[in-house]
Symmetry: C2
Subunit: 285 residues, 2 copies
């Protein structure tokens, strides 16, 4: 597996691959790999000839009171896992390489960044779109893979790609879960044993919502009330948001009649976890 740490050599290598007719799949990450990340690489390998992954804990997308400084890292473990998953090139830039002195540009996607995580993480998505655009220009992918666990991130990036006419196919990959259903996340490593048990409330609340819909409930308010009650009765858990919305525009829905996104963020102890589910999923024939 190749390791590249600087922008210019990465661009030269990417251009060389493109000119040789190779299809490049990019998996942008913040490292500390779990099966979710590795699945992105495996799916990337199916669609592309060369899988490039990046590890960069992006300061721009963390708020001042968030976990940038203590975000978990394990470079050696990550490289071994990625190689096993079939990745070809690791792009590992430093902060200085990504944001040299004088840096002053941001990309803002206006509407879909507002609700959900946008409410409690102001500026977060500007940081995400800016770094992802940079990574796209550096690694020149034909396609890029993102996990559906970060559903809003996937929506925001898809919107940016469309609006700025980036010629890149964005692939959303289904969330990989632990045996009991907890969505995999690098932040799960923060949980102690009691919190780990409580963390399952996100998945349980989504199960409950789906059951309510299947039993005929259409009022978003009532579905949300059920989910709220379930989480409020879970030890260590504090709701950040529960939203039921249009899966493209992320605008709130009052009634769940066709396809809808149910998304939630819950603080379990000090750890903020997210999960989501699309219900009434359209069947594409």
């Amino acid at each position: 597996m190749e390791i590249i740490e600087q922008v210019t050599p990465m661009q030269i290598r990417a251009e060389e691959l493109r000119m040789a007719g190779q299809t490049i799949a990019l998996v942008p990450t913040m490292g500390f790999f779990h099966e979710g990340h590795l699945e992105l690489m495996r799916v990337g390998k199916k669609h592309g000839d060369v899988v490039i992954f990046s590890i960069f804990v992006n300061p721009l997308q963390f708020g001042p009171s968030e976990d940038y400084a203590c975000y978990p890292r394990d470079l050696e473990g990550d490289l071994a896992k990625a190689e096993k998953a079939g990745a070809d090139i690791a792009f590992l830039p430093s902060g200085r390489e990504m944001y040299p002195e004088g840096f002053q540009t941001k990309i803002n996607v206006k509407n879909v960044t507002q609700p959900l995580c946008g409410l409690s993480r102001p500026g977060h998505f500007d940081g995400v779109t800016t770094v992802v655009a940079k990574l796209f220009h550096i690694t020149k992918p034909h396609l890029a893979l993102f996990g559906q666990k970060d559903y809003q991130q996937l929506t925001v990036i898809s919107r940016m790609v469309k609006d700025l006419n980036m010629d890149i196919q964005i692939v959303g990959v289904p969330t990989v879960r632990e045996a009991d259903g907890l969505a995999m996340s690098s932040r799960n490593s923060y949980l102690n044993a009691a919190e780990r048990r409580s963390a399952l409330c996100l998945k349980k609340a989504l199960d409950l919502a789906e059951e309510l819909v299947q039993s005929g409930e259409k009022e978003a308010g009532k579905i949300r009330a059920g989910m709220t009650s379930l989480i409020e009765h879970t030890a260590h858990a504090k709701i950040d948001y529960i939203q039921i919305c249009n899966p493209i525009t992320l605008e709130d829905k009052e009634f769940v009649e066709d396809e809808a996104l149910i998304a939630l963020a819950v603080k379990v102890g000090k750890t903020r976890l997210i999960d989501n589910r699309i219900i009434n999923k359209r069947k594409w024939s």
Copy 2:
């Protein structure tokens, strides 16, 4: 000369050219060509194999009280002139093609957009960077050419390209002038005969500034005062700004000791004109 009006065919054609090893030079314009535009195409042809130019009067970069609706247009004349100048492909998108329903993304370059034209045209440069990024992603150029007359625009775009790691060489082409020294601009067509004579005050003020510097004056305030006086004594002319600043950061300079940008905007009648000059230009050995 090829004419392409839609995004996808343009991207396919550009990718095809790149894969065939052709170097693409892009000249983004708002049309109504004068020698300045044609010079960009000629310089593009020197550096690249294929010159693509775009004509798009970008609503995003006009303020509500500006001249978007009456911006001069002459498509037929433009195409004939561009062909003669050696251009290969005209990209002529509609507003709907560039900004379809749901569009919501903007690129902001923070510091260098603030002074000069940024003061009297809020939001202008967000419109410029956003449309230029779109054109870059659509036409996939190796290099792109911009006139030095719009010096701040050139600075802002260079900054965006650097900050977002776009793998594109930005080439600034010296301002083309009328016989008497007026910088060529599509907006000169708005001037009546008396205003046309007054319009020369921009060039004269820059000449005066350069003379003052050559005679030993170093205080930016005094240089500005001389320029101000000259323009205030010109009929129909009203100063928007005169700034003396660092040519990279565009931060004001109090003293002109090394390389400096002198830039000004003047309303002549209802027409806003700009011009600039770099003084004490560094010699690169």
